[in-house]
């Protein structure tokens, strides 16, 4: 009798769980004394793989790509990492869709766990992650610049190279120590070059001058903005940096 009851309860639990279907899911994460409003878009990609993006209102996160999306019915797990910790949000959602269509479970971040509850509100609208564009041939290669911060001079070498998925870039900053900064995002729009390193929280926005053969711009890291002008260094490399 006890075994039968256990089987019935187990069966009921399975019946109450539902499979996740593509869609937009909206709801809240209830962390202590603060409610985070969350919008999650989940869709099937070109193959069978799931893709997704997330917006967290109030945390400056809009359309960040989801990663590690695993559907093992009835459990659904997905993660988001906006930048490497401790700067960026690194969180995981573990949940289930119940018979009423609610996706609910636990939100895990920085070792803390809180419940979340999301409701399907419509079709998915997954935001595509920013893609690198190619850069003009005349921008490819090595550039040299320097700036001063808190009385210390830093020398910067910038490498730009086109690859099949757009351009790649790396900065090497030599001051008291040498720091290599691979750029996550490289875009060129007209004369404007934009570089971003999420890990370092660093960005560079510059304008290429055809006459001067310089890239004049601003290097930003957190609260700091410093003028940085790149001059032509070595000849363009054929290999990616």
């Amino acid at each position: 009798m006890r075994v039968l009851a256990a089987i019935l309860i187990f069966s009921a639990a399975i019946c109450n769980a539902a499979e996740l279907t593509p869609g937009r899911w909206e709801g809240v994460v209830n962390i202590p004394d603060r409610e985070l409003t969350v919008v999650v878009d989940l869709d099937r990609g070109a193959g069978v793989a799931w893709v997704g993006s997330i917006t967290v209102v109030g945390l400056d996160i809009k359309g960040a790509p989801l990663s590690d999306i695993v559907m093992k019915a009835p459990e659904i797990v997905f993660s988001v990492q906006t930048a490497p910790p401790p700067r960026g949000l690194q969180a995981t959602f573990k949940g289930k869709v119940d018979s009423s269509g609610m996706l609910s479970g636990n939100f895990i971040e920085a070792g803390n766990t809180a419940p979340f509850s999301l409701k399907k509100t419509g079709p998915p609208n997954v935001e595509a992650p920013p893609r690198n564009t190619p850069v003009a041939k005349e921008l490819e290669g090595e550039w040299k610049g320097e700036y001063e911060l808190n009385g210390y001079k830093r020398e910067v070498t910038l490498q730009l190279a086109n690859q099949s998925q757009g351009a790649a870039a790396e900065m090497v900053v030599v001051g008291k120590r040498t720091t290599k900064i691979p750029m996550d995002t490289v875009t060129q729009e007209g004369d404007f070059l934009s570089l971003q390193s999420r890990g370092m929280g660093m960005n560079y926005e510059g304008r290429f001058g055809k006459d001067s053969q310089e890239i004049k711009g601003i290097l930003g890291q957190g609260p700091i903005e410093i003028p940085l002008v790149f001059h032509r260094g070595a000849a363009p490399k054929t290999q990616p940096p």
Binding site: I31, R34, P85, Q90, A110, N150, I224
Partner: protein, 432 residues
């Protein structure tokens, strides 16, 4: 005989026994207290609750503790049972540590006044009006937006704590002055103008006052005349005003001034000349704590790098380095072989003076509650959930959240093995 008497008087004026009646224990601000501190945490003896956050450190005279709160009140509390003896309202938040001398309690308030209160009854004796209080401020401070907007520094949390010497009260003010006021009458004796807000507390040694200003200069001023003896220029940061200014109060021992600076250095300066003896750089991390000095070692802690550090007093060479997990603004207090300090994550940490080993920790209930997940499960600040935007009031809200988890800014007071401290949860604690 006369020379012997002069010698005795001089010794009394320059070498203070460990005290408990003013910020950092004594006028030289050594941060060293008589007796011992607990090597194990046993219990909370009592907890006294106020109406708002508390940044002021407790001081004691006899069996009475004195401190002030952001609720604007100055409190007198029985050391034995935490019973309130009296309170006196000031006209603004009072994140200033009182000084007790004789039968008078002196304390600063954000209403721009220095109060002198009867230590037994709390009755007002007099109040002295300064040019007004304000916080340090700068355009685009810490990179906040809009960068051409003048913004008050959220981390300028303390007011100056008075020091009382030979009938004169000395304290700093948001109007940029260091004031000398007659302790009995409240009549001004002199004032010394600096280039910006003075919220550090003057230390006294050998007839001079030593203090830093938010103008990033450190001053030595004659205690009698108010004339400048020397000044020392620390770091400047015209870009984002982050690595600039003295918030730490100095300790003066054996002719050397030890003081932390927001330019991330701990300095050792010659007390007679102001000449730099050494500096210890903390790589961008503020030194807000007022150093404690004992047995040839300097004890302090840092903000962003969240480190408890011990350096050699003679050379500045690093001796110990321990992770505190979160920013430290609280100044370390030493009693016996134990050093105690508070952390902004809401924990009080006690370490062995010699080894740096963590002996015990106490975590406030507000810290355990971790509202808004200000802390990670390891009690570090949870960056993405706290500081997510430099725009408009986001930084103010972030700092407010950060301060709302029972953070401990106060410098602990240690008497007879009992540790007294305050927290932004609004409480004064007695632990043993």
């Amino acid at each position: 005989m006369r020379s012997a008497l002069i010698g005795i008087v001089f010794l009394c004026a320059t070498h203070f026994a460990p005290g408990q009646s003013m910020f950092r224990g004594d006028p030289a601000h050594t941060g060293v207290y008589a007796g011992i501190a607990p090597r194990q945490f046993h219990r909370i003896n009592w907890k006294f609750t106020t109406d708002d956050r508390v940044f002021s450190s407790p001081v004691a005279s006899g069996k009475v503790l004195y401190f002030a709160g952001d609720d604007g009140n100055v409190y007198a509390v029985d050391t034995d049972n935490g019973r309130q003896l009296w309170k006196h309202a000031t006209g603004g938040p009072a994140p200033s540590t009182p000084a007790v001398e004789g039968r008078t309690v002196y304390v600063c308030s954000y209403d721009g006044r220095l109060y002198a209160l009867n230590a037994q009854s709390g009755a007002l004796k007099w109040k002295f009006v300064t040019g007004g209080e304000r916080r340090f401020e700068a355009k685009g401070i810490h990179g906040l937006q809009p960068k051409n907007q003048t913004i008050a520094d959220q981390f300028d949390v303390f007011l100056s704590s008075p020091v009382v010497i030979q009938g004169t009260v000395y304290f700093g003010s948001g109007d940029g002055n260091l004031y000398a006021v007659d302790a009995n009458s409240g009549e001004p004796r002199w004032k010394f103008q600096t280039g910006d807000v003075v919220h550090s507390s003057p230390a006294y040694a050998d007839g001079a006052l030593y203090f830093g200003s938010w103008d990033s200069r450190f001053y030595a001023v004659d205690a009698v005349t108010g004339k400048e003896k020397w000044r020392f220029q620390a770091g400047e940061d015209p870009l984002i005003h982050n690595q600039v200014g003295f918030q730490s109060s100095a300790a003066v021992i054996n002719g050397v001034v030890y003081v932390g600076c927001r330019d991330s250095n701990l300095y050792a300066l010659d007390a007679a000349t102001g000449k730099e003896k050494w500096r210890f750089n903390n790589e961008g991390s503020w030194v807000i704590t007022s150093p404690a000095v004992k047995d040839g070692k300097v004890f302090f802690a840092t903000s962003d790098s969240s480190l408890y550090r011990v350096v050699d007093a003679a050379t500045g060479k690093s001796l110990l380095r321990e992770d505190t997990k979160a920013y430290v603004f609280s100044s370390p207090a030493i009693a016996g072989d134990v050093v105690v300090y508070g952390v902004l994550n809401g924990t009080l940490q006690a370490r062995d003076v010699n080894t740096g080993a963590l002996l015990w920790e106490y975590q406030t209930e507000a810290s355990k509650a971790n509202k808004g997940w200000v802390l990670t499960s390891e009690r570090k600040f949870n960056g993405p959930l706290v500081f997510h935007s430099p725009w408009r009031e986001a930084a103010t809200v972030a700092v407010d959240r950060q301060f709302n988890i029972g953070a401990i800014f106060s410098s602990p007071l240690i008497i007879n093995g009992i540790v007294y401290f305050t927290s932004t949860d609004g409480c004064l604690y007695a632990l043993e």
